[in-house]
């Protein structure tokens, strides 16, 4: 039948399983994210440092090459190496979050598209999970995934004894990155849900990190306390990571308190999302 003569007809075919619906949101969000060439370039650039580290590890074990320069070892691959690796990649992850995060929920809110999602068999949790999966996967790809690959390369080159002695790093690499990724993603999504303009949401994310730290310092100075450090999210993340990698870190906040503070921030963001991500808001009249 010619397309212009089509009449209405139902859909008699098979349906996809319910659990897979949130992945559709992720797929379309990815498509949208990688339409922006600047972002794609930045994402590729995020792999330069891990690649350099991999080359460094290889050179570090190439005795012939090192002897040519009269060096015994370039650097010591230990907990400190992975701690600093995650700090660098974490900073890049933050920039990536600031670029990607604001565009995830705000376009749906700006044009009232949420009822169209939720009138289908898709829960609010599914929607948030689908959007968050974008950030989780992108940030994972530049933090703990390359870190574990570097660990694997080092283990292969250094041998079983090094691996046995440093095996405790594996869960800590994952945990240290996971808390960072969780806080970044939650904050980005919550701000994206509350601020309809992409640019403003991105600015707000930067503001939360930088002004939060500044405000915390000011509170410390005025009140003569160290509790202001709880507002410094980047400081809290580094405290947790230093605690996990058994590194010395100048912070008045203990590792445990930093964990609790970061989980509280994530919980607050989740509450903000639950308040905003719904088909219709009921306004008190």
């Amino acid at each position: 039948m010619a397309v212009h003569k089509r009449s209405y007809r139902g859909y008699p075919g098979q349906l996809t399983p319910l659990w897979s619906r949130c992945l559709i949101i992720t797929r379309y969000a990815f498509k949208n994210v990688f339409q922006w060439k600047l972002l794609t370039s930045f994402f590729v650039a995020c792999f330069i440092f891990p690649l350099s580290c991999a080359v460094l590890i290889y050179v570090n074990h190439n005795t012939r090459l090192l002897s040519m320069f009269g060096i015994r070892s370039l650097l010591n691959i230990d907990a400190g190496f992975f701690f600093h690796f995650l700090r660098v990649q974490g900073s890049l992850g933050f920039i990536l979050t600031a670029l990607v995060g604001p565009g995830l929920v705000s376009p749906d809110l700006a044009n009232n598209a949420l009822p169209l999602y939720f009138c289908r068999p898709l829960s609010r949790t599914g929607y948030v999970a689908g959007k968050m999966l974008v950030l989780l996967s992108l940030l994972s790809l530049i933090t703990w995934v390359p870190a574990l690959l570097l660990f694997l390369i080092q283990s292969i080159l250094a041998g079983g004894s090094w691996m046995g002695a440093n095996l405790w790093l594996v869960p800590n690499i994952f945990l240290g990155s996971a808390i960072e990724i969780l806080v970044f993603s939650m904050l980005a999504l919550a701000l994206s849900a509350w601020i309809k303009r992409k640019l403003a949401a991105g600015a707000a994310l930067l503001g939360v990190f930088f002004f939060g730290a500044g405000f915390g310092q000011a509170a410390n100075a005025v009140l003569g306390t160290h509790k202001g450090d709880l507002l410094n999210l980047a400081g809290l993340i580094h405290t947790v990571q230093a605690h996990l990698f058994r590194q010395a870190w100048r912070s008045a906040i203990s590792g445990g308190s930093a964990w609790v503070a970061l989980l509280a921030v994530s919980g607050f963001c989740l509450w903000l999302l639950a308040r905003k991500v719904r088909a219709y808001e009921v306004v008190r009249g």
């Binding site: 212009h4 859909y11 996809t16 289908r120 068999p121 009921v282 009249g285």
Partner: protein, 309 residues
């Protein structure tokens, strides 16, 4: 026909304020109209049926599924066209409709095929690769309709579908609703404050006012019933004409010497009336079927509601 929607004392409350109160009704028409003035609770009822708002009292069933506990099943069966402007500005119509189809459970390739098909069906075929942000209001209404039917739902809920449309666009929308209704592949719940839209498309109507159900009418039956009421105006001197009409099995009530209202029995043949008039030398000057339009029904319902409150 099996019931589409069963309201069982449904009530919705926001901050101690009753928005919907004790709605009880069974709706089973192919196209059901939800009618009421602004603020009557029509959209709230739709949103509650879709599980967007919590139920305070009672419950409701859509195709037998309880809205309190089986929202996912209901949403799988329904397509929804909201009243407000809803779209994703940076997406092309075809990818937007495809995504909505996939979210409703269509496999990716089927969703793409259906997206093209429904966009042609609603009349946006030529504009399907344009971004939704560039669409006019009328085109966005059609795109909203397309996303509501892309997955071939059993029930389509249309909330004020002709809002903001110019007369030709409105005609087109009404025609599409007619076509969908007549395809018998789905049932329609149409919410509107425009009597004409409901009258032209629906066979059942539920009238709400201030969150309460003020009237339920089966328009099909009303139309059939109206055919049995006559208003007669005669000329000629025959006092016994009314009695003779009654002898034909009709019920008569004379409003004046030459005017009467007649209720016809089921098997009545109109020719008998003309023959009787001829025999008695009575001229039938005027013969009207009673026409109770939806407007009459609506106004009566509003009057009754005012009288009650």
């Amino acid at each position: 026909m099996a019931p589409v929607i069963e309201l069982e004392g449904l009530g919705v409350r926001f901050w101690q304020r009753n928005i919907l109160e004790d709605l009880r009704c069974t709706l089973s028409g192919r196209a059901v109209g939800l009618l009421g003035p602004n603020g009557a609770g029509k959209s709230t009822l739709i949103n509650t049926l879709l599980g967007f708002y919590p139920v305070a009292t009672g419950t409701a069933r859509v195709y037998g599924y309880d809205i309190r506990t089986q929202t996912k099943q209901i949403r799988s069966l329904a397509g929804y066209m909201p009243e407000i402007d809803c779209f994703i500005a940076h997406m092309t119509a075809v990818s937007f409709i495809r995504m909505m189809g996939e979210l409703s459970g269509l496999p990716s390739s089927a969703a793409l095929e259906r997206a093209h098909e429904v966009l042609f069906y609603v009349g946006l075929g030529e504009a399907r690769y344009r971004k939704l942000g560039t669409y006019s209001l009328g085109m966005r209404q059609l795109a909203k309709l397309a996303q509501a039917i892309v997955h071939g739902p059993k029930l389509v809920i249309l909330d004020e579908p002709t809002n903001g449309l110019d007369p030709p666009a409105r005609q087109r929308m009404i025609r599409l609703i007619h076509e969908m209704r007549d395809s018998r592949e789905l049932q329609i719940l149409l919410c509107s404050h425009l009597l004409r839209d409901v009258e032209e498309t629906c066979d059942e109507v539920l009238i709400l006012k201030a969150g309460r159900q003020v009237h339920y009418a089966n328009l099909e039956e009303e139309r059939r019933t109206n055919k049995r009421f006559l208003e007669l105006e005669t000329a000629g001197e025959d006092a016994g004409f009314a009695e003779a009409v009654e002898n034909l099995g009709c019920a008569c009530a004379a409003t004046s010497a030459k005017r009467m209202k007649v209720v016809l029995p089921e098997s009545f043949v109109m020719r008998d009336l003309y023959r009787l008039a001829e025999e008695r030398n009575v001229q039938i000057r005027r013969l009207n079927y009673r026409r109770d339009s939806l407007e009459d029904i609506f106004l009566k319902a509003m009057e009754n509601a005012n009288g009650r409150s």
